[in-house]
């Protein structure tokens, strides 16, 4: 049975973006690159809300093969572009702006249930606070992987913003990166 994993960066105070909606990414390092390369092997399908899909669609197709994008990012670009992408949107007419994308034809619960029955690797939600919250509230997330950045953003958009059921989790891994970010991976207990 294919699983759905939520895998995101978050500040120590629980924000995914800063007070002005700005992206504050983790400090990149060899450690983080190695983890990212290993992580993406687990997945072949990405789940997106419209906003995150649109911004990623502007970035990743142009990144692949671009010499200005470093070698570590190239394997990520190949993965992002080559994987299946399922986009949940009521307003998009089509998903042609990014290869291997398709619009979901049903709600998240039905779509994920149908996908679970198909052969393949696991599914991942990488981006988009609002979509992550929708997925959590719909109860479709099996594992939560967080890379906690050693910083308080002081405000912004919270990733785990409530509205879902209280849920005990099982810790799968806790590991400090060389940058001081901490990777914690959990599954539903």
């Amino acid at each position: 049975m294919r699983k759905v994993v939520l895998s995101m960066f978050v500040s120590l105070d629980g924000y995914i973006e800063g007070p002005g909606g700005e992206f504050i990414g983790p400090e990149w390092s060899a450690d983080l690159d190695a983890w990212t390369d290993k992580m993406i092997e687990r997945f072949d399908t990405l789940l997106y809300g419209r906003t995150a899909w649109q911004s990623m669609a502007e970035f990743w197709p142009a990144a692949e093969g671009n010499p200005e994008v470093g070698p570590a990012q190239q394997s990520v670009a190949r993965f992002m572009n080559g994987s299946r992408k399922i986009v949940f949107s009521r307003s998009l007419q089509n998903a042609r702006a990014w290869a291997n994308s398709s619009l979901a034809t049903a709600g998240i619960v039905e779509t994920v249930a149908a996908e679970r029955g198909k052969p393949g690797k696991d599914m991942v939600i990488f981006a988009g606070a609002k979509f992550a919250q929708t997925a959590l509230r719909a109860g479709v997330v099996d594992e939560i992987w967080l890379l906690t950045i050693p910083m308080l953003f002081g405000g912004g958009t919270r990733l785990l913003d409530g509205g879902y059921q209280r849920q005990k989790l099982k810790l799968l891994e806790a590991r400090a990166m060389d940058t001081g970010a901490v990777l914690t991976r959990y599954e539903k207990a």
């Binding site: 120590l12 105070d13 629980g14 800063g18 007070p19 959590l136 939560i144 967080l146 906690t148 050693p150 910083m151 308080l152 953003f153 002081g154 405000g155 919270r158 785990l160 913003d161 409530g162 509205g163 879902y164 059921q165 209280r166 849920q167 005990k168 989790l169 099982k170 810790l171 806790a174 590991r175 400090a176 001081g180 970010a181 901490v182 914690t184 959990y186 207990a189």
Partner: protein, 182 residues
Amino acid sequence: MRRLVVWNLISLDGYFEGPTPWDLDFHTTVWGEELEAFSIEQLDEVGTLLFGRRTYEGMADHWTKATGAIADMMNSIEKAVATRTLDRADWNNTRLLKGDAVDAVRALKAEDGKDIYVFGSADLLASLQKAGLVDEYRLCLAPVVLGAGNPHFKPDGQVKMRLEKTRPLKTGGVVLTYAVEG
């Protein structure tokens, strides 16, 4: 100058208590021999336990009725409570910090002695963090999402931290130690 260390248990979604005050059931997900040993070791390092009024009252009520090694330490260690409303504090070895909490804590830090530890007290912490008086955070991240509750970190400015230690517990809790860089 004494250091000010914050020790709290928080859920993965960043709450230190559930939607109602003292909804701390999630503590059972991490409490056990390891955390008990950690607590005793930590209490040995405490010079003063600093609380906001609300946490102080709850702690006083709990620990004066409890028994065991941790209860003995909690009851004997010096406590300080920041309050505008209390005129007396009956829990053994307590001082009242009247007036502006930030000024009072700054003075407390300037005294000689072992370090100051804050447990709970999220509202007081927000003021202390804003004033740059927190030196270290020790957080036990509990393996649970609560779905609603009272956030441990209140909105404020950006603050950089340096990760000092990561210690996973058998219960699935993870104790994270950060030094505040500012």
